[in-house]
Point group: C2
Chain length 139, copies 2
Protein backbone atom coordinates (compact mmCIF):
# COMPACT_ATOMS: atom_id res chain seq x y z
CA UNK A 1 0.00 0.00 0.00
CA UNK A 2 1.33 3.45 -0.90
CA UNK A 3 1.52 6.31 1.60
CA UNK A 4 -1.18 8.07 -0.45
CA UNK A 5 -3.55 5.10 -0.17
CA UNK A 6 -2.83 4.82 3.57
CA UNK A 7 -3.49 8.54 4.03
CA UNK A 8 -6.87 8.15 2.28
CA UNK A 9 -7.88 5.28 4.62
CA UNK A 10 -6.53 7.29 7.57
CA UNK A 11 -8.78 10.23 6.65
CA UNK A 12 -11.81 7.92 6.55
CA UNK A 13 -10.85 6.41 9.92
CA UNK A 14 -10.46 9.85 11.55
CA UNK A 15 -13.84 10.85 10.14
CA UNK A 16 -15.71 7.95 11.72
CA UNK A 17 -13.97 7.95 15.15
CA UNK A 18 -15.74 9.90 17.88
CA UNK A 19 -13.15 9.04 20.51
CA UNK A 20 -9.38 9.54 20.36
CA UNK A 21 -6.64 8.17 22.58
CA UNK A 22 -4.13 10.79 23.69
CA UNK A 23 -0.67 9.54 24.67
CA UNK A 24 1.50 11.70 26.93
CA UNK A 25 4.56 11.20 29.13
CA UNK A 26 4.43 11.90 32.87
CA UNK A 27 7.08 13.58 35.05
CA UNK A 28 8.80 10.20 35.58
CA UNK A 29 8.98 9.54 31.84
CA UNK A 30 6.22 6.92 32.04
CA UNK A 31 3.69 6.75 29.17
CA UNK A 32 0.06 7.58 29.86
CA UNK A 33 -3.09 7.20 27.74
CA UNK A 34 -6.49 8.89 28.06
CA UNK A 35 -9.59 8.61 25.89
CA UNK A 36 -11.11 11.96 24.91
CA UNK A 37 -13.97 12.96 22.67
CA UNK A 38 -12.86 14.24 19.28
CA UNK A 39 -14.18 17.80 19.04
CA UNK A 40 -12.80 18.95 15.66
CA UNK A 41 -10.18 17.96 13.09
CA UNK A 42 -8.55 19.65 10.13
CA UNK A 43 -7.56 16.79 7.85
CA UNK A 44 -5.49 14.38 9.89
CA UNK A 45 -2.85 16.87 11.01
CA UNK A 46 -4.79 18.95 13.54
CA UNK A 47 -7.05 17.52 16.24
CA UNK A 48 -8.87 19.49 18.92
CA UNK A 49 -10.25 18.08 22.17
CA UNK A 50 -11.34 19.72 25.40
CA UNK A 51 -10.50 18.77 28.96
CA UNK A 52 -10.40 19.91 32.57
CA UNK A 53 -7.33 22.00 33.28
CA UNK A 54 -6.53 20.14 36.52
CA UNK A 55 -6.00 16.76 34.86
CA UNK A 56 -2.92 14.59 34.61
CA UNK A 57 -2.65 15.06 30.84
CA UNK A 58 -2.58 18.85 31.13
CA UNK A 59 0.21 18.67 33.71
CA UNK A 60 2.10 16.20 31.46
CA UNK A 61 1.73 18.51 28.44
CA UNK A 62 2.80 21.60 30.40
CA UNK A 63 6.07 19.82 31.11
CA UNK A 64 6.43 17.96 27.82
CA UNK A 65 4.18 18.71 24.82
CA UNK A 66 5.41 15.62 22.92
CA UNK A 67 2.34 13.47 22.43
CA UNK A 68 0.54 11.11 20.11
CA UNK A 69 -3.04 10.49 19.14
CA UNK A 70 -4.45 7.11 18.22
CA UNK A 71 -7.62 6.51 16.22
CA UNK A 72 -8.99 2.98 16.53
CA UNK A 73 -11.62 1.03 14.67
CA UNK A 74 -11.61 -2.09 16.87
CA UNK A 75 -14.13 -3.95 14.66
CA UNK A 76 -11.96 -3.56 11.54
CA UNK A 77 -8.72 -3.70 13.58
CA UNK A 78 -7.61 -0.53 11.83
CA UNK A 79 -5.41 1.95 13.69
CA UNK A 80 -3.80 5.29 13.02
CA UNK A 81 -1.14 6.82 15.24
CA UNK A 82 -0.27 10.46 14.77
CA UNK A 83 2.93 11.68 16.44
CA UNK A 84 3.38 15.35 17.23
CA UNK A 85 2.81 17.79 20.06
CA UNK A 86 -0.14 19.31 21.90
CA UNK A 87 -0.78 22.91 22.88
CA UNK A 88 -3.00 23.67 25.88
CA UNK A 89 -5.19 26.66 24.92
CA UNK A 90 -6.76 28.73 27.69
CA UNK A 91 -7.56 31.95 25.81
CA UNK A 92 -11.21 33.01 25.54
CA UNK A 93 -11.23 33.00 21.75
CA UNK A 94 -10.33 29.32 21.45
CA UNK A 95 -12.40 28.27 24.45
CA UNK A 96 -15.47 29.95 22.97
CA UNK A 97 -14.75 28.64 19.46
CA UNK A 98 -14.72 24.98 20.51
CA UNK A 99 -17.48 25.12 23.14
CA UNK A 100 -20.43 22.74 22.72
CA UNK A 101 -23.59 22.84 24.90
CA UNK A 102 -23.09 19.26 26.16
CA UNK A 103 -19.77 20.28 27.77
CA UNK A 104 -21.87 21.90 30.50
CA UNK A 105 -22.18 18.44 32.04
CA UNK A 106 -18.44 18.65 32.79
CA UNK A 107 -18.14 22.44 33.15
CA UNK A 108 -21.28 23.79 34.87
CA UNK A 109 -19.84 27.33 34.72
CA UNK A 110 -19.90 27.17 30.92
CA UNK A 111 -17.42 28.37 28.33
CA UNK A 112 -15.85 30.87 30.76
CA UNK A 113 -15.23 28.23 33.42
CA UNK A 114 -11.60 28.56 34.58
CA UNK A 115 -11.38 24.74 34.54
CA UNK A 116 -12.19 24.39 30.85
CA UNK A 117 -9.35 24.28 28.30
CA UNK A 118 -8.79 23.20 24.71
CA UNK A 119 -6.10 20.75 23.57
CA UNK A 120 -4.73 21.36 20.07
CA UNK A 121 -2.73 18.41 18.78
CA UNK A 122 -0.51 19.07 15.75
CA UNK A 123 0.71 15.92 14.01
CA UNK A 124 4.05 15.59 12.26
CA UNK A 125 4.08 11.96 11.16
CA UNK A 126 1.69 9.05 10.98
CA UNK A 127 1.54 5.28 11.09
CA UNK A 128 -1.44 3.47 9.61
CA UNK A 129 -1.89 -0.20 10.52
CA UNK A 130 -4.46 -2.67 9.24
CA UNK A 131 -3.72 -6.36 9.62
CA UNK A 132 -0.43 -6.98 7.83
CA UNK A 133 -0.48 -3.48 6.31
CA UNK A 134 1.75 -1.01 8.13
CA UNK A 135 2.59 2.29 6.46
CA UNK A 136 4.48 5.33 7.77
CA UNK A 137 3.94 8.73 6.21
CA UNK A 138 4.71 12.36 6.92
CA UNK A 139 1.86 14.81 7.57
Amino acid sequence: MTAQEAAKLAHDLVGRCEVVLLGTVDADGHPSIKALSKVETDGIKDVWCVTHIKTRRVSHLARNPDSCIYFLDAAKFQGLMLMGHTEVLTDSENRHRFWQPQFEHYFPLGKDSPDYCVLHFIGEKANFAWGLINVDFVL
Copy 2:
Protein backbone atom coordinates in the same frame (compact mmCIF):
# COMPACT_ATOMS: atom_id res chain seq x y z
CA MET B 1 -17.45 5.60 43.56
CA THR B 2 -15.16 3.49 45.76
CA ALA B 3 -11.97 1.88 44.46
CA GLN B 4 -13.66 -1.50 44.95
CA GLU B 5 -16.63 -0.51 42.78
CA ALA B 6 -14.28 0.91 40.13
CA ALA B 7 -12.23 -2.30 40.16
CA LYS B 8 -15.42 -4.34 39.59
CA LEU B 9 -16.37 -2.20 36.56
CA ALA B 10 -12.76 -2.36 35.36
CA HIS B 11 -12.86 -6.19 35.45
CA ASP B 12 -16.05 -6.16 33.36
CA LEU B 13 -14.48 -3.73 30.87
CA VAL B 14 -11.33 -5.84 30.51
CA GLY B 15 -13.50 -8.90 29.95
CA ARG B 16 -15.42 -7.41 27.03
CA CYS B 17 -12.48 -5.68 25.25
CA GLU B 18 -10.84 -7.68 22.49
CA VAL B 19 -8.36 -4.95 21.63
CA VAL B 20 -5.95 -3.16 23.97
CA LEU B 21 -3.90 -0.01 23.42
CA LEU B 22 -0.28 -0.36 24.49
CA GLY B 23 1.57 2.85 25.37
CA THR B 24 5.36 2.90 25.24
CA VAL B 25 8.09 5.55 25.06
CA ASP B 26 10.52 5.71 22.14
CA ALA B 27 14.27 6.40 22.22
CA ASP B 28 13.58 10.16 22.05
CA GLY B 29 11.22 10.01 25.03
CA HIS B 30 8.17 10.47 22.77
CA PRO B 31 5.00 8.54 23.63
CA SER B 32 3.73 5.90 21.21
CA ILE B 33 0.49 3.90 21.09
CA LYS B 34 -0.34 0.66 19.27
CA ALA B 35 -3.52 -1.40 19.22
CA LEU B 36 -2.98 -5.11 19.85
CA SER B 37 -5.34 -8.04 20.26
CA LYS B 38 -5.83 -9.10 23.86
CA VAL B 39 -4.63 -12.70 24.07
CA GLU B 40 -5.04 -13.48 27.78
CA THR B 41 -5.53 -11.71 31.09
CA ASP B 42 -5.24 -12.70 34.74
CA GLY B 43 -7.62 -10.34 36.54
CA ILE B 44 -6.68 -6.82 35.54
CA LYS B 45 -3.06 -6.99 36.65
CA ASP B 46 -1.55 -9.23 33.96
CA VAL B 47 -2.19 -8.87 30.24
CA TRP B 48 -0.62 -10.93 27.46
CA CYS B 49 -0.43 -9.97 23.79
CA VAL B 50 1.71 -11.23 20.93
CA THR B 51 3.64 -9.26 18.35
CA HIS B 52 6.38 -9.34 15.75
CA ILE B 53 9.80 -9.01 17.34
CA LYS B 54 10.99 -6.43 14.80
CA THR B 55 8.41 -3.80 15.72
CA ARG B 56 8.77 -0.35 17.21
CA ARG B 57 7.08 -1.34 20.46
CA VAL B 58 9.53 -4.20 21.06
CA SER B 59 12.49 -1.87 20.52
CA HIS B 60 10.90 0.68 22.87
CA LEU B 61 10.34 -1.97 25.56
CA ALA B 62 13.87 -3.35 25.22
CA ARG B 63 15.16 0.11 26.10
CA ASN B 64 12.42 1.10 28.58
CA PRO B 65 9.87 -1.44 29.87
CA ASP B 66 7.71 1.32 31.45
CA SER B 67 4.37 1.09 29.67
CA CYS B 68 0.64 1.40 30.04
CA ILE B 69 -2.37 -0.43 28.69
CA TYR B 70 -5.69 1.20 27.94
CA PHE B 71 -9.02 -0.61 27.65
CA LEU B 72 -11.71 1.41 25.89
CA ASP B 73 -15.45 1.01 25.52
CA ALA B 74 -16.04 3.90 23.11
CA ALA B 75 -19.84 3.42 23.10
CA LYS B 76 -20.07 3.74 26.90
CA PHE B 77 -17.13 6.18 27.02
CA GLN B 78 -15.59 3.99 29.70
CA GLY B 79 -11.81 3.73 29.95
CA LEU B 80 -9.27 1.92 32.09
CA MET B 81 -5.59 2.75 32.12
CA LEU B 82 -3.19 0.32 33.73
CA MET B 83 0.32 1.58 34.44
CA GLY B 84 3.18 -0.85 34.81
CA HIS B 85 5.85 -2.50 32.74
CA THR B 86 6.06 -5.05 29.93
CA GLU B 87 8.34 -8.04 29.53
CA VAL B 88 9.17 -9.32 26.04
CA LEU B 89 9.11 -13.14 26.21
CA THR B 90 10.94 -15.11 23.54
CA ASP B 91 11.32 -18.50 25.27
CA SER B 92 9.65 -21.51 23.67
CA GLU B 93 7.52 -22.30 26.71
CA ASN B 94 5.72 -18.95 26.68
CA ARG B 95 5.57 -18.73 22.89
CA HIS B 96 3.94 -22.17 22.71
CA ARG B 97 1.63 -21.45 25.67
CA PHE B 98 0.08 -18.34 24.06
CA TRP B 99 0.03 -19.53 20.44
CA GLN B 100 -3.33 -19.49 18.64
CA PRO B 101 -3.91 -20.97 15.14
CA GLN B 102 -5.01 -17.61 13.67
CA PHE B 103 -1.56 -16.13 14.44
CA GLU B 104 -0.31 -18.06 11.41
CA HIS B 105 -1.66 -15.21 9.28
CA TYR B 106 1.08 -13.04 10.81
CA PHE B 107 3.67 -15.75 11.48
CA PRO B 108 3.59 -18.30 8.62
CA LEU B 109 6.42 -20.25 10.28
CA GLY B 110 4.16 -20.93 13.26
CA LYS B 111 4.86 -20.96 16.99
CA ASP B 112 8.60 -21.50 16.45
CA SER B 113 8.92 -18.52 14.11
CA PRO B 114 11.89 -16.40 15.27
CA ASP B 115 9.75 -13.29 14.63
CA TYR B 116 7.00 -14.25 17.07
CA CYS B 117 7.16 -13.03 20.67
CA VAL B 118 4.86 -12.59 23.65
CA LEU B 119 4.35 -9.34 25.55
CA HIS B 120 3.55 -9.73 29.25
CA PHE B 121 2.28 -6.52 30.80
CA ILE B 122 2.27 -6.35 34.60
CA GLY B 123 0.15 -3.54 36.04
CA GLU B 124 0.94 -1.69 39.25
CA LYS B 125 -1.79 0.95 39.39
CA ALA B 126 -5.00 1.78 37.57
CA ASN B 127 -7.24 4.69 36.64
CA PHE B 128 -10.88 4.02 35.78
CA ALA B 129 -12.79 6.82 34.04
CA TRP B 130 -16.48 6.98 33.12
CA GLY B 131 -18.00 10.38 32.47
CA LEU B 132 -17.43 12.42 35.61
CA ILE B 133 -16.24 9.36 37.53
CA ASN B 134 -12.48 9.10 37.82
CA VAL B 135 -10.97 6.65 40.32
CA ASP B 136 -7.35 5.66 40.95
CA PHE B 137 -6.53 2.37 42.60
CA VAL B 138 -3.55 0.13 43.23
CA LEU B 139 -3.42 -3.33 41.61
